[in-house]
């Protein structure tokens, strides 16, 4: 069946009704409000789709640096050699055009939150009534001595997809027989908390076939991790003796990295793996900093009712860059944040009261090419103000893991289709 957004409006006209109601004071006095979305990833695109559905007449411009988007979710399958790199690449421009959303390819250098405009490379200014910032993540290069952007061209992070994904995939494909693959994992918060352990699992699944004496070492800045029980039991069962996880307590902090010699030195040891993957500590995308949206944590504090920046009114921050308390930084969470934010923007433009958001993060991790585990969180607001966990449960009995894989693939297909369009 051809996916149709129009059908959504026809079938749930209660959403469309909000569109009909959006003749608030702003529209009456100034015409159609101009909504600008900065960033074309999972958060930005889903916000634009959702708001356009809620308020079909609204004027939305989405600004993104690249014509195509290379997604992180699914990239561990590419790194491990189970899927081609091309499968990660999407071009959302057609879907946006069909919906009547303006797609502007450009680099945002900064902006003026008082006068409400963005400045693009080349000098153009883009005015807005509401700005939705969805800049994703960037790295704190200074945090690991010896590991900066230049070094990442030799020793990949592969935590933003694209050339980095290819580099790590190629290095792993050339791993010598019985060689060592080492990953370093940062402390919380960072994008996709269980991602490093999924990466280790899938690489192990591939190496078990192609290079069974190879070893994987995970040096963690944490003493526990997401879905730990599920991952560890899968490693014991599926990849006995292949994956070793070293906690912060055991090894302490990384002292420095030497990218040329491919070494990692800690307080106690020096490691010299054959393939090294450094996942650096992270912060909100640089655009967030340029717009003055970040605090000392490096992430963007927001009002949890409507994701409005605590630093600048009429600027909302969604996705990985936002600090939404206990909600993890995942594509699933980004999509629900985007939809919740679109609803609150639609209501506030119509001068209507805002409900409390209720977010879900349901996150699958593949532990083999046909098995998955998951963690599910439901998040609300305590006393209407502070994000809190209402339910947080991990799976998954072994008997559910193949079903969870099938669920994961179906959910993923839906996520990709709703975010980027079909085909």
């Amino acid at each position: 069946m051809r996916f149709s957004r129009r059908r959504f409006l026809q079938q749930i006209p209660s959403l469309a009704a909000i569109g009909c109601l959006s003749v608030g004071p702003l529209m009456a006095s100034r015409g159609t409000p101009r909504i600008v979305v900065a960033g074309g990833g999972f958060a930005g695109l889903n916000f634009a789709h959702a708001l356009k559905q809620l308020v079909p007449a609204i004027d939305i411009t989405l600004i993104e640096q690249n014509s195509h988007y290379v997604r992180c979710p699914g990239s561990n399958q590419v790194i491990a050699g189970f899927k081609p790199l091309e499968s990660l690449i999407h071009q959302p421009a057609r879907l946006l055009r069909e919906e009547g959303i303006r797609f502007l390819q450009g680099t945002i250098l900064g902006g003026d939150p008082e006068r409400r405009h963005l400045r693009l490379e080349g000098g153009a200014r883009v005015p807005y009534d509401r700005l939705i910032a969805a800049p994703g993540i960037d790295f704190r290069w200074e945090q690991i001595e010896g590991y900066g952007k230049a070094e990442s061209l030799k020793v990949p992070h592969a935590w933003q997809a694209g050339d980095q994904t290819r580099l790590l995939r190629d290095q792993l494909a050339a791993l010598r027989p019985g060689g060592l693959f080492m990953m370093t994992v940062p402390g919380n918060p960072y994008r996709c908390p269980p991602g490093p352990y999924e990466r280790a699992s899938l690489v192990a699944a591939q190496l078990k076939r192609t290079n069974p004496r190879a070893k994987i070492l995970i040096l963690d800045a944490k003493s526990k991790f997401s879905k730990e029980k599920g991952f560890k039991s899968a490693w014991t069962r599926l990849y006995p003796g292949m994956i070793e996880w070293i906690s912060f307590e055991t090894e302490g902090e990384i002292d420095h990295v030497d990218a040329n010699r491919r070494t990692v030195t800690t307080a106690f040891n020096r490691y010299r793996p054959d393939v090294l993957n450094i996942i650096p500590p992270q912060k909100a995308g640089t655009l967030a900093e340029a717009l003055g949206l970040t605090d000392d944590s490096g992430w963007c504090p927001v009002d949890p009712i409507d994701f409005q920046s605590l630093h600048h009114p009429r600027v909302h921050v969604i996705g990985d860059a936002a600090n939404f308390g206990p909600v993890p930084k995942s594509a699933f969470a980004a999509q629900t944040e985007a939809r919740a934010c679109a609803l609150s923007v639609a209501l506030s433009l119509a001068d209507l009261p805002l409900p409390e958001p209720r977010l879900i993060n349901h996150c699958y991790s593949l532990i083999a090419s046909d098995r998955a585990i998951s963690v599910t969180g439901v998040y609300g607001l305590k006393q209407g103000a502070i994000p809190e966990v209402l339910s947080l449960l991990e799976s998954s009995p072994e008997s559910d893991q193949q079903m969870e894989f099938i669920n994961a693939m179906d959910w993923f297909e839906l996520l990709i289709e709703t975010t980027f369009g079909k085909g």
């Binding site: 079938q11 409900p355 209720r358 998954s396 669920n407």
Partner: protein
């Protein structure tokens, strides 16, 4: 028909006739918005129209009572699933009813 459904139905009719006052708009939209806000998470797996996808079952064919009964059964774990028993714990009876009023078959259109 409970008061929520009654209000929603009245509003739908009112909207069609284009006769509603601004105050009434606000009241109704608030009720709808609460349901929409609660249901945001449902759409990620069950689709934007509740149409389902492959192994992820559709919501749109469920009548309201079935929707509510199933959701509550997941919460008490008398009905099993790989996922829904974990999600259901995060919603109260009142919230489940609100979502049913938005997503189940026969909800005010």
């Amino acid at each position: 028909m409970n008061s929520t459904q009654g209000t929603l139905a009245r509003v739908t009719i009112g909207l069609m006739a284009g006769l509603l006052s601004v105050t009434c708009h606000a009241e109704v939209s608030t009720e709808k918005a609460k349901a929409q806000s609660l249901a945001v998470g449902c759409l990620s797996c069950h689709g934007e129209t509740g149409e389902g996808r492959g192994s992820l079952p559709p919501l749109s064919p469920l009548d309201r009572d079935t929707f509510i009964r199933r959701f509550q059964a997941f919460r008490s774990e008398s009905k099993t699933s790989s996922v829904m028993h974990r999600i259901a714990r995060g919603y109260s009876d009142e919230e489940i009813k609100r979502m049913a009023a938005l997503l189940a078959k026969g909800s005010p259109r």
